[in-house]
């Protein structure tokens, strides 16, 4: 598999470490009423689709950037790769 790194271009999958569903960016707030439920869903439940999947990859043997890769779990086709930090900011995460 080849991941087209936004900064470094096409790189072999072996340079990367896979984490999982990109929903792991959306970490719940710890002070919410139902924080426990939110964290339970955040940590454990997955959509696990057969098709397009947004997922987190870490360029462990490269520039150590985390990427959000949009990949089809049936064909393995990759349609989009973004820097996770950009995605996280877009999703309203800051400090």
């Amino acid at each position: 598999m080849i991941i087209n790194h936004p900064l470094l271009g096409p790189r072999d999958r072996q340079e990367f470490t896979y984490l999982g569903d990109a929903c792991l960016i959306d970490r719940p707030g710890w002070q919410a009423e139902d924080a426990m439920d939110q964290f339970f869903e955040y940590v454990y439940l997955r959509d696990d689709p057969a098709g397009e999947h947004r997922e987190l990859w870490y360029h462990e043997h490269g520039d150590r950037s985390w990427l959000v890769v949009t990949r089809n779990t049936v064909t393995h086709e990759i349609t989009n790769v973004e820097l996770a930090s950009d995605v996280a900011r877009k999703q309203g995460r800051s400090k």
């Binding site: 900064l7 490269g62 520039d63 150590r64």
Partner: protein, 187 residues
């Protein structure tokens, strides 16, 4: 007056040199290294301060720049690996800290790496070690690459014929073994 003997990553008192038919692999131990990472929100100031000290512009993604005493390679987002000869710049990281205080983070990396320079016919060696097309790198480019299971930093001075390969120092003997075995097979 410091009275301790240094040792090279390959445990020698002098650098190791391996010669093959058409290729030389040289251990290069005396490099002062430091990483320079820009502080958030202070990127421009940090960059200016660093460039003022280095005397040249910090290279763009995937590039390497050298001028006078210093050299710099792109390392990661807003991060570079700065180098100079240890002989006169043992304390380079301290000088950097003074130059960019508060605007960038500096971490000494001098002994974090081992370095092997390849001069000659490099293609066959790289073909056997890395999925990155290192033999096709342009002169003046630098990239992170996986060589035989080791995360390395590769700098190209001349396409297909002159490179520096930097690897984690503790793996020096494994990296060296991989390089010479590939060279023996390729040449």
């Amino acid at each position: 007056m410091l009275n301790l003997q240094t040792i090279t990553p390959l445990w020698g008192e002098t650098p190791r040199v391996d010669r093959f038919n058409g290729l030389t692999i040289t251990e290069v131990p005396n490099q002062a290294l430091a990483s320079l990472a820009l502080r958030k929100g202070r990127e421009d100031e940090g960059r200016k301060a660093a460039e003022a000290m280095l005397g040249f512009a910090l290279p763009e993604v995937g590039r390497h720049a050298a001028e006078g005493l210093y050299a710099a390679s792109w390392f990661a987002q807003d991060q570079w690996l700065i180098s100079a000869e240890t002989s006169e710049h043992e304390l380079m990281s301290y000088q950097l800290v003074d130059a960019v205080a508060g605007l960038a983070s500096v971490t000494e990396q001098t002994d974090g790496w081992c370095r092997f320079d390849l001069e000659g016919m490099c293609r066959g060696v790289f073909e056997r070690l890395s999925g990155v097309n290192l033999a096709a790198m342009e002169a003046g480019s630098a990239t992170r690459a996986l060589l035989e299971h080791l995360s390395c930093m590769v700098i190209c001075f001349e396409t297909a014929s002159h490179y520096s390969v930097l690897g984690p120092r503790s793996y020096a003997r494994s990296l060296h073994h991989a390089l010479v075995t590939a060279a023996r097979s390729a040449l």
